[in-house]
Subunit: 523 residues, 2 copies
Amino acid sequence: MFRTAELGQKVSKNEFNQREPLLRQALLEAQANLRVNSKFPVIIVFAGVDGGGKGETVNILNEWMDPRWLITRAYDEPSDEERDRPEYWRFWRDLPANGHIGLFLSSWYSQPILRRVYEKENEATFDDRLDRILAFEKALADDGALILKFWMHLSRDAQKQRLKKLEKDPLTSWRVTQQDWDHWHIYDRFETAAERTIMRTSTGTAPWTIVEGLDSNYRSLTVGGIVLKEINRHLEEARKKSLLLQELEAQQQSGKPVLQAAEAENPENVGDALATEPGPPPGTTILSTLDMSLHLTKADYKKQLQKCQARLNLLHREALKKKISTILLFEGPDAAGKGGAIRRITAALDARHYQVIPIAAPTDEERAHHYLWRFWRHLSRAGRINIFDRSWYGRVLVERVEGFASEAEWKRAFAEINEFEEQMTEHGLLLLKYWVHITKEEQLERFKAREQTPHKRWKLTEEDWRNREKWDDYEHAVNDIVEHTSTYNAPWVLVEGNDKRFSRIKVLTTFCDRLEAMLSAKK
Amino acid sequence: MFRTAELGQKVSKNEFNQREPLLRQALLEAQANLRVNSKFPVIIVFAGVDGGGKGETVNILNEWMDPRWLITRAYDEPSDEERDRPEYWRFWRDLPANGHIGLFLSSWYSQPILRRVYEKENEATFDDRLDRILAFEKALADDGALILKFWMHLSRDAQKQRLKKLEKDPLTSWRVTQQDWDHWHIYDRFETAAERTIMRTSTGTAPWTIVEGLDSNYRSLTVGGIVLKEINRHLEEARKKSLLLQELEAQQQSGKPVLQAAEAENPENVGDALATEPGPPPGTTILSTLDMSLHLTKADYKKQLQKCQARLNLLHREALKKKISTILLFEGPDAAGKGGAIRRITAALDARHYQVIPIAAPTDEERAHHYLWRFWRHLSRAGRINIFDRSWYGRVLVERVEGFASEAEWKRAFAEINEFEEQMTEHGLLLLKYWVHITKEEQLERFKAREQTPHKRWKLTEEDWRNREKWDDYEHAVNDIVEHTSTYNAPWVLVEGNDKRFSRIKVLTTFCDRLEAMLSAKK
């Protein structure tokens, strides 16, 4: 989930100096519009890793905006006064009024996460607390509030470096406490709790944005840009809504339809303002961080393949005995070598124990059900291996990119998929998700080769060429997929696939490693 | 929550015979339309008390409708096959296709409730299971499914009688098992689990309807009527949606607006069909079951008042020591005697320890926040008593009836209020909610008396007379309030208020009893 925020994104001083004044100006304008409209409050929550720059970001927003209509709140252990009332009393008390912005540090998320990390409360109780948060934020959002939540992330190593750097500088050393180091030592526990928090509380009306916290320029511009974009979007929606209401009233009074909505919806000045609006800086996707030059010699490959397949065969016999089922799924660009990798797995197995399920267009019966129904049907009995060649991720890949699914449909699919996969892993299934990647150039080579090889020509269709044109959209979609659905129990394995030999061995090795880990946990 | 389903509602044989053929015909038609449209499935869940008529209702629906497009499923302990897969595999497998209806007995709700009642799982785990249900139903509803859930209720006594009656008849005695009686003995535990289930899983797109299960005629017509109404409503919505989509397309192709939506929205035949549609039989409200003739003599009143006030004073001193706060709230028709009852309470208390909060129109500052904000502010420190003269229930009373809140707003307010009150009671507060009731005739008497008493004349406004005209709407709203928000920990006390003396003593006594119970639980 956090790997998309470990890409080392940076904004140079030069670029920052160019963007900052524009952003500040636009933020001040948005804030003024918010005041004039005064129909809803803005609630901005900051959470994340110590040293991820939560405090600094709040400071910079205070600097950039008009402090008269901005409140900042942070919460420590509850006071006497606060303990006398239900837990949320202090949060309700501090809510910004319509037209105001509230910045919340160590907010309602802080205590639940800490209690979980220190194992004072079990997972079910943790979920109860997250439910309370959901209900709280839903009530506010239903009432019109704009809620934005930023999770500032640093990798384990980056956090260590950051804390050391802060400690070294006499001006910032006070920022680092023993507690920060204590927390660093249990980084993994924080990450697990954070993952669950984000999965359960990222909703359409109160979404989390994970922000890479390493570079302060990137961080500030990203948060500022998103705040700006969202305030303007929310104002625009409120404006449209009230226009529609006015019209309806006019219609009722005059008795005939007044049709200015379409016209009023996008007066030129608003459109222009949005077009030139200083948004967050453009980022890179996780796929661009893969080292696509990785490869194996033929000799190495042969040796390793034999070893891996023998290992897999042994491991799977044990899995059968222990009734551990496996689900593998493969996604990736056309011609990435998914089929080849799958065949290297099945070659090591007994045909009675696995099933390869190629996912093409749904049948009539499947179309008459929820899109997940056809995947639920294919869950096999204990101990078996199911291999999906393409999968339920079609919803957030091809259906998203080609527009077969509406935005609402593919956006809510992330939560539906996480729920589906959680049910599998809770049941004790091993679930591994492979993205076999190739570069655009490599794909072109392979397409050309296919055209020239008679027995492979059938594999290449018009559609493959069309998909190629949307390469960047697909890359962007994959980045979102990894951000939303790569979890501790159901991780995505990104496979560098330009060299087929390397790719196949990586697929086999990661499968064996995970299966072995699972088997030894069940001893 | 269940008191509105213990009113002894009945439908005579005669009335049933009149309504049944109409309903059957309409259901068959709705089912045929559903088939033709074939855009969504209908999922109907039955749950509730043993002997509440779940099975019989499913049988009658099977009799009334076309069995070819109807599936019925009930779930026992999972089979070997089922245990090999995640828990929900069997539910997914059985989902009806678009255009079909599925009737589910002992469904996904059954195991979570049983595990909770037998205390195999704690409340937090129970909540986790309900979350899973929420996600499951949300995914289906988002995809277009119509989901209806019926909770068949019987009071503890009614259930006993029903089981005995079934046992006596040789034709039905097989229906009653030892397990039914075992469950009857832990009726209260079932009720608590049921209350939590309904509170947490009744959503806008998958609502629960609580049905009084005593009389089979009433039960069948109610369920059948609601199923009919909802299928037709859902079909109509689907129709409108697809018309709008068609128009949008036409608009995009022709480049100019095609405006048939308003016209197409309600062709005459549909409007007519809905108007004469055989819906559920009209019911009575819970207020009509109060014995409004209850009264006390002056001598009795004086004696009891003194005793109650002395008792309250002692109890509250103990509550102060133990830091138990109390929140009382009073609702009721104008001139019902809320103020008088409140003064009889405060007379027994030290002025430093209580606060009476009259709720009138909100201030500017309050209006600029969520409607619950102003009630959160008024939660006082530990040990104190807060008395709200009118309350947050204004949202689902006056704001609902007068149209100040939209339907979406007041409907979601039930969940918001339950969440608010749960936070209070979880914190250890005593929360009691009084509905002080008078009859319409008694109100008229009191209004007239006020007009003639100079020092009371100011109390009577134009608004009071206007509210009187909506008496039935208010009664209906109160019934909904009790159904949705009277819970074990935050019950509504319905007070027969035609006799002020009786009413004041009932208010005081119930307060003392609850406070005493809470104090002794905290020993």
